[in-house]
């Protein structure tokens, strides 16, 4: 199972979502975009287990994937 966490405008827009099974981040994002087309128009970064990932990354059982809209702190 993959844990998916959303933040900022993505949390507001998508709320609770159903997480598809996926072996890596590229697959996960592809499936999520099919399920939630709004993601096509949204800019976001990915973190796996609290680490930013920019390349396709394998997902392990019980890992946590975060969808992060552009930061706007401070």
């Amino acid at each position: 199972m993959i844990n998916l966490v959303l933040f900022g405008q993505l949390k507001e827009t998508l709320g609770e979502i159903t997480v598809p099974r996926a072996e890596d981040t590229a697959t996960l994002i592809k499936l999520l975009k099919q399920q939630y087309p709004v993601l096509e128009d949204t800019s976001f970064m990915l973190a796996v287990d609290k680490k930013l990932v920019t390349e396709n990354t394998p997902l392990t059982e019980n890992c946590t994937v975060a969808l992060l809209p552009p930061y706007s702190g401070g």
């Binding site: 966490v5 933040f7 900022g8 680490k51 930061y71 706007s72 401070g74």
Partner: protein
């Protein structure tokens, strides 16, 4: 000996109070090798967007990740600058226009180091800390802030 350094939280619920900043300054009184402090404060602006005024910003964060990122930023600043102290506080939750939402405090022997390190840390925070601000308007609408 426990070598693992506990990562102190940087988050404060609501606005950062001037009295908190004063206490923070006061605590450096005993560090007599410090000659210069530089402090950055972010204050929520009552920006007007299409005639609609921002009354507050509601901040949220991915706190567990933010603390890891903060720790790395801090290490890299200490590696680059000869600092005595570096402290960062970011508000979480609602901060009204006119109130303080970010407090970055760098202390060094000399002024140039304090200025440069403080500014570098603020830039790192703006670019790399997973925090989101939602601007709340006077007509109860809202929009997500974007950093420049």
């Amino acid at each position: 000996m426990n070598m693992e350094k506990k990562i102190k939280s940087i988050f404060i619920e609501g606005p950062i109070q001037p009295s908190f900043i004063a206490e923070s300054i006061q605590q450096h009184n005993s560090k007599k090798e410090i000659g210069a402090h530089n402090i950055f404060l972010g204050q929520v602006r009552a920006d007007e967007i299409n005639g609609n005024k921002v009354v507050a910003i509601n901040y949220s964060s991915y706190e567990a990740m933010a603390l890891q990122e903060y720790h790395e930023m801090r290490e890299s600043i200490f590696a680059e600058y000869d600092l005595t102290c570096l402290h960062v506080y970011q508000s979480i939750g609602k901060v009204a226009a006119g109130e303080i939402c970010l407090f970055v405090f760098a202390s060094s022997k000399h002024r140039k180091t304090a200025f440069d390190a403080c500014e570098a840390m603020v830039e790192k925070i703006k670019a790399g800390l997973p925090v989101w601000g939602q601007e709340l308007f006077e007509d109860d609408s809202s929009q997500w802030k974007t950093n420049k």
